[in-house]
């Protein structure tokens, strides 16, 4: 490589002065982080396809098979009997958010192992802002996947009220934030990708099955009061219910409160975990260097 003449000044002349970051700079940063996550997602076609195929298998095969076995009585927000496919659609939306939230945390562990995470963490913007930006990027990708699934489901004949597709957006956003924040918190605790698989098994599957995603809670209560209590303690339960009610233009206030509260809790914990002065990251040996 040669050392050509500089076409322009690269560095400032001492003493170095910088203007304070304004709102515009913050928005540029946020846009950059979201765009990068979206580009990564688009470049990983297998990830997109698998994220779509997973809920569709549940919808096309599982729901069709269990339609006759698992009857659903009239429970809010439904005002009439609904097909089992209709019942599990909010749960499948939740499943996409759950997998996507964990996937984004997986990518954070990968980024940390590969060193990409450092480029984010050495940005001069506040650490909390960078993490929230990263979360928002993950949520944007998650919501895009949910809508892709809903479009396919619509053609399959599983339809929500037309306005429901719009009204569910805030519920998807908040639920996505909660699950991304949880994923981020988990990613701070995990040192290597190999360890992540175990955590996924302890989070995704129990979280998904111990919820009303596939069967109403009253059925679970009949089957096992203990499992019912576990379901009630599961934040994912409230995310699914929040989404379910939102499809019908209703707000389940308990679910809203729990999801919002858990989002704040997980986010605060993740920010602390990624704080170099207090967090878990600083206690781990650097993986990128020698010492």
């Amino acid at each position: 490589m040669s050392a050509p003449a500089m076409p322009e000044k690269v560095a400032g002349v001492m003493p170095v002065r910088f203007e304070k970051f304004g709102l515009g700079n913050y928005l540029i940063c946020l846009k950059g982080v979201v765009l990068r996550e979206c580009l990564r997602f688009l470049h990983q076609r297998e990830r997109f396809i698998s994220s779509l195929v997973r809920p569709l298998i549940w919808l096309f095969i599982f729901a069709a098979g269990f339609r006759q076995v698992l009857g659903v009585s009239i429970i809010p927000p439904y005002k009439t009997y609904v097909l089992y496919e209709v019942y599990i659609t909010p749960g499948l939306c939740g499943m996409i958010l759950l997998f996507s939230g964990m996937q984004s945390s997986l990518s954070m562990v990968y980024d940390r192992e590969m060193g990409n995470m450092r480029t984010l963490l050495v940005s001069p913007f506040p650490r909390w802002f960078l993490l929230v930006s990263k979360m928002l990027a993950g949520v944007a990708v998650s919501i895009a996947q949910v809508y892709a699934f809903l479009i396919v489901a619509w053609f399959w004949g599983v339809k929500a009220p037309p306005l429901g597709y719009l009204m569910v957006l805030p519920a998807l956003f908040l639920s996505g934030m909660m699950l991304c924040a949880l994923g981020m918190l988990l990613s701070s605790m995990i040192k290597q990708l190999e360890n992540f698989a175990g955590i996924m098994n302890f989070v995704i599957f129990p979280g998904y099955f111990a919820s009303p995603a596939l069967y109403p809670l009253w059925r679970i209560q009949e089957a096992s009061p203990l499992l019912y209590k576990i379901c009630l303690a599961n934040p994912f339960t409230y995310a699914v219910e929040l989404i379910r009610f939102a499809f019908y233009g209703q707000i389940d206030w308990l679910s809203l409160g729990v999801v919002a509260g858990c989002t704040l809790l997980f986010l605060a914990a993740a920010i602390i975990a990624y704080d170099p002065s207090r967090g878990l990251i600083s206690r781990k040996q650097d993986t990128g260097g020698n010492a």
């Binding site: 990409n116 781990k284 650097d286 020698n290």
Partner: protein, 262 residues
């Protein structure tokens, strides 16, 4: 051979001032009371064998880890207390490759520009100019995955310069590269010091990257064992060359430390 000061260097005009910094990973001490400073527009080589603590020091300077003992200042801004102001003034090339391989060169650089609040046309102009500087003009649309190791490094250097830092940190930037690529990268960085007034901290264990006019800081097992101009370190360590001096200073059994005022 003089002993290094254990207190902070206290150099207010320094590009980088490391004062009494220690860091441990659990019971293992990686850095022990390290103090030195580098002046603006100078090329300083941080020498140390693998495990000497160079990467730990970089992680502390770049605020990936918090400085729990001692202090680090970049142009007077404390990295722990005013990390944003400090980090705006520093560009970093990490030892590990940190480009996103799925993205293009332009996308990688745009992402970094955004992380420094730079967007739109300004970012595009800076990217084009910096690709010229690192001798990769017109390569914006190449996938990072398609680049050679040397080319990736050049892009990482361009990335580190995007926000116009006054201090550049490079951690083993030439490891794994062929001789020609190493020489080219080194020449470019040295030119930046001369023409742009950038202060550089160049961490390496490759002694042939040191030139006579450089400042050096030598770490051994987390301890600072020498600092100063090359000729002075050679003289005070009783060696015949900087290679000989580094060899002597890096020996585990070597005792004492050397300090030469610049």
């Amino acid at each position: 051979m003089q002993h290094v000061r254990t207190s902070g260097s206290g150099d207010e005009g320094a590009a980088l001032d490391v004062a009494g910094v220690s860091h441990s990973y659990g019971p293992k001490r990686a850095l022990n009371d390290v103090s030195f400073s580098i002046a603006p527009a100078t090329f300083t080589v941080l020498l140390g064998l693998n495990g000497a603590g160079k990467t730990t020091l970089f992680s502390l300077i770049s605020h990936l880890y918090d400085t729990r003992r001692g202090s680090i200042r970049i142009f007077g801004h404390d990295v722990s207390r005013a990390s944003g102001e400090a980090l705006r003034r520093v560009g970093i090339v990490f030892q590990a490759r940190t480009l996103d391989l799925d993205l293009s060169v332009h996308q990688n650089l745009s992402y970094h520009a955004a992380l420094h609040g730079i967007g739109g046309r300004e970012a595009r102009q800076r990217i084009a100019a910096l690709l010229d500087i690192v001798d990769m003009p017109g390569r914006q649309h190449d996938k990072a995955r398609s680049l050679s190791g040397g080319q990736m490094r050049r892009i990482e250097i361009a990335r580190a310069l995007l926000h116009r830092p006054a201090l550049l940190l490079l951690d083993e930037a030439t490891v794994g590269l062929d001789i020609q690529s190493r020489a080219g990268i080194l020449a470019t960085i040295r030119k930046l010091v001369e023409t742009e007034g950038i202060g550089v901290l160049w961490a390496t264990h490759l002694i042939d990257e040191v030139e006579d006019g450089d400042h050096v800081v030598v770490l051994r097992q987390g301890e600072l064992v020498a600092r100063g101009k090359v000729a002075d370190v050679v003289r005070t360590s009783g060696a015949s060359s900087i290679r000989d001096a580094f060899s002597k200073l890096s020996r585990i059994e070597a005792a004492g430390t050397a300090e030469i005022s610049p």
